[in-house]
């Protein structure tokens, strides 16, 4: 493998990892703060992708505006969903949460099927992000992928800033380590949970929107990515955003280079990675905490 | 009297925090050795390290001459280290008898014998009955464990510990939440158990501790500041300043 190809694969690995990070941080936030395991998280990703498919014609070149609108819409959706459904899951056992969110996946899949059908769709990147830049003398690299990585980094930094530098973030971190104490401190836990949940949904949907021009929009994309997301969370440790970042990049590298070197067995690469981590460090790479 | 269970230099760190620092203690059979201290003194961490639930960061633990520092909890339990918990950990759906029988079964398990029903195990049944009798719960054997009074549940906690036929009893606040009558009963039970067992008693009830303990160790901020006979502890100036004075 020559250097340019290697660089391309590295960039791909990082881009995939960063996208996973967006998803995984949403999942780990929701589980870390509210203690809810949410199987439908992948469906939010799918919803984001389909949202991009639906909104793209309306916004044309205003891609960033579309992303912003998409984030707002999905946050609103998340806010309502928490109020209508998820708030009832907090006190329940994991088994019940698993089943109810599994059922939610079925509902979402059918709603999607009824609203937009079962076809596979493509979403075109806007012109100003289409095209490629040269890498070395022979290869080029798609601008959109660079944009995707950059967008994820921006969101990641924003997330870090919110969690570590704002009052909201302080409440989130307190809630992650001791739910009951936070309640005792008089913080409106209901609003907090709703906001965190909306944030988690928005992160997942944003990941889906950004991914849409890259991986096309198809039924079942939610389920696939959900399980990879779980692998990330297991490796990185639940409740740890830093852990999610490290694990996401690790998974990105293993998956991308796995595909290059072992085409047929590439799908199982990340699970072998997970197996190795479990043998070595069953609690995940990082301890709990942001 | 030679020690049955002893620890030397036992230390536990959690990140930057040292919860237990260089604790060296002996527990001999025929003795109730109480460990007292304010909240956060490290008593729970100490007992968790001795039972095997928490690995030690440093130090050694010996049981009858064997180094058990690296042994997992189940192995220590089978070797004779019994433990009762501060928060009741009985099996509420099973009967009082079954709770004890299940505990007794640990040392007499024949898991592959699927064709034998558990209740047919004569050995564990006998041990369970003996444990219940020792703990004074013989007439409540058939009751659902969850229906017992708080005091009854704490007694069952001890009975389950006894059912594993331990040589060492690590008792974590067995008197928690008990009224004076129940406390008396429990103290009588401990007095009866003394011969033949080495007993570590972590407790907050100072009157009870001074009534029953043969030896008292005082912990402050993870360290032992005094370890002596009750009378000596009572008159120890450091202890008075650090602990008893506030009580």
């Amino acid at each position: 493998m020559d250097f340019a190809t290697f660089l391309v694969q590295c960039l791909n690995a990082v881009q995939y990892g960063l996208l996973l990070f967006l998803l995984a941080s949403g999942l780990t936030l929701i589980f870390g703060i509210m203690g809810v395991i949410n199987l439908a998280h992948g469906s939010f990703y799918m919803a984001g992708a389909y949202l991009a498919f639906g909104l793209a014609p309306l916004f044309g070149q205003n891609f960033l505006l579309m992303l912003a609108v998409g984030v707002l819409l999905s946050a609103l959706f998340g806010y309502l969903l928490e109020w209508a459904f998820f708030s009832f899951l907090y006190e329940r056992e994991h088994l019940q949460q698993v089943l109810m969110t599994y059922a939610l996946i079925l509902v979402f899949e059918e709603l999607r099927s009824m609203l937009v059908g079962n076809d596979v769709h493509g979403v075109k990147a806007p012109d100003w992000l289409a095209g490629s830049i040269p890498l070395g003398s022979l290869m080029t690299y798609p601008v959109y992928r660079l944009f995707a990585s950059a967008a994820c980094i921006v969101v990641g930094v924003a997330l870090y800033w919110v969690v570590n530098r704002t009052r909201l973030g302080m409440m989130i971190r307190a809630g992650a380590s001791n739910r009951d104490m936070v309640r005792g401190l008089g913080i409106d836990i209901t609003r907090l949970y709703r906001i965190v949940f909306a944030g988690g949904v928005a992160l997942a949907a944003l990941a889906g929107m950004i991914a849409a021009p890259l991986s096309s929009v198809y039924p079942g994309m939610g389920g696939q990515v959900l399980i990879v997301c779980f692998v990330v969370v297991v490796i990185g440790g639940i409740g740890s955003i830093t852990g999610a970042l490290i694990a996401s990049l690790l998974v990105g590298v293993v998956d991308t280079f796995g595909k290059v070197f072992f085409a047929e067995l590439s799908g199982i690469g990340i699970y072998l990675l997970m197996a190795i981590v479990l043998i070595w460090r069953p609690e995940g790479l990082m301890k709990k905490g942001f | 009297m030679s020690a049955l269970l002893s620890c030397s230099g036992l230390t536990r760190r959690f990140g930057g925090l040292t919860a237990v620092n260089g604790v060296t203690l002996d527990f001999a059979p025929g003795q109730v050795h109480a460990v007292i201290g304010t909240n956060g003194a490290g008593k729970s961490t100490l007992i968790n390290m001795l039972s095997g639930e928490l690995p030690a960061s440093d130090g050694r633990i010996t049981l009858a001459g064997d180094d058990i520092t690296g042994w997992p909890q189940a192995r220590r339990a089978r070797a004779g280290v019994g433990r009762s918990y501060q928060r009741t950990t009985i099996f509420p759906e099973f009967t009082v008898f079954e709770n004890c029988r299940l505990s007794a079964q640990a040392a007499h398990a024949r898991p592959w014998a699927l064709w034998e029903t558990a209740s047919a195990c004569a050995t564990s049944g006998r041990i369970a009955h003996e444990a219940l009798a020792s703990a004074g719960l013989a007439d409540l054997a058939g009751r659902a464990a969850g229906s017992l009074s708080h005091g009854g549940k704490r007694q069952l906690e001890i009975a389950m510990c006894l059912a594993t036929e331990p040589r060492v009893l690590l008792l974590d606040e067995p008197l928690a939440g008990m009224g004076s009558e129940e406390t008396d009963r429990m103290l009588e039970l401990l007095a009866r158990l003394k011969p033949g067992h080495a007993i570590l008693l972590v407790e907050h009830d100072m009157d009870a501790v001074f009534r029953i303990a043969d030896r008292i160790t005082v912990m402050v901020n993870g360290e032992v500041i005094a370890s002596d006979a009750p009378a000596a502890i009572r008159s120890n100036r450091d202890v008075q300043v650090a602990y008893l004075g506030e009580h």
Partner: protein, 310 residues
């Protein structure tokens, strides 16, 4: 009365082919096979308290072994296939269990799901199992006069498997091993404090559950004559988990009732004559909403409902 119920049900099952249509008998066989699958998960979830979201891996593995171990154009040995399927499933369960049991709670759920997905990918992406299209079982296996291809013979084979599995688990429940599992389910910490090597007990339960799931999968492969990777998919793992909750967790009868209820619900929701064309096409929606309502309102399952009315 309740003690005789399983025996009565077994007798009824044995008599059914005489009175039912071939289509209904086929449905009953499917239910019987899924009942074995559900019972295997009941051992894990209901008896030991281990919520696995990857149990379909062992089911699908058993199915694939049945096809892969069968000769190209001759009937295979039925007994050998059943044993091979269970052995391979048990082996994978040993690997998955040894690793996942190092985790707890939510981690365990996620890890079991991930390992099932790994097995799914092996069959979906590689040539081992004919890829995403699956592979066919050309000739059904036989064992002496017992012909796997004969519908009646197969019916009784399936029922025998169900009775055997049910009996084994019933025996297990009363045994020392079963009591230990129950203790682990309620309070694993206390069991360790008493001296039980709980990891070994959980692993043993996990492997046994995997083997029984493999048995069910093998039977399904022989029945349908075709296997595909979707048998190992997370949807299948979710479905079997649903079955045991539907029936009622903690009861062996619950697993069987749940398998039947789930199969019947799916039939119901997918029949245009009963729910109209639109809903029949989108039966997953109705199913999903039913599940949500069910878990929310009847957390103890159908058995809980019966117990309440008594």
């Amino acid at each position: 009365m309740a003690r005789w119920l399983p025996w009565i049900a077994a007798l009824l099952l044995a008599a059914l082919p005489a009175v039912l249509t071939p289509y209904t008998t086929d449905l009953v066989v499917k239910i019987v096979i899924f009942a074995v699958f559900a019972l295997s998960l009941e051992l894990l979830v209901g008896m030991t308290g281990l919520v696995s979201l990857g149990h379909a891996a062992f089911f699908g593995l058993g199915a694939y072994v049945a096809v892969l171990a069968s000769p190209e154009s001759d009937p295979g040995n039925l007994l050998v296939l059943l044993l091979a399927a269970m052995a391979v499933a048990a082996l994978y369960a040993l690997f998955v269990g040894a690793l996942s049991l190092r985790t707890k709670g939510v981690y365990f759920i996620m890890v079991t799901l991930a390992f099932a997905q790994m097995a799914y990918f092996v069959f979906h992406d590689t040539k081992v199992g004919g890829g995403s299209d699956g592979i066919y079982l050309n000739v059904r296996p036989v064992l002496g006069p017992l012909d796997g291809g004969n519908k009646l013979h197969f019916y009784y084979l399936a029922v025998a498997a169900l009775v055997g599995t049910y009996g084994l688990l019933a025996l297990l429940r009363r045994s020392r091993f079963g009591h230990a599992l129950a203790g682990i389910r309620v309070n694993e910490q206390r069991m360790r404090a008493a001296g039980f090597a709980t990891y070994r007990y959980k692993l043993a339960a996990f492997v046994l559950a995997g083997a029984l799931a493999g048995l069910a999968g093998c039977l399904l492969a022989i029945k349908d004559g075709v296997v595909n990777p979707e048998l190992l998919a997370w949807q299948e793992s979710g479905a079997v988990l649903l079955m045991i909750i539907l029936g009622g967790l903690g009861h062996l009868r619950g697993a069987v009732i749940g398998a039947a209820a789930f199969a019947l619900l799916k039939e119901l929701y997918a029949t245009p004559a009963l729910v109209g064309n639109f809903l029949a096409d989108h039966w997953q929606l109705t199913l999903g909403l039913t599940i949500i309502a069910f878990v929310a309102l009847l957390p103890k399952g159908l058995i809980g409902l019966l117990e309440r009315r008594r």
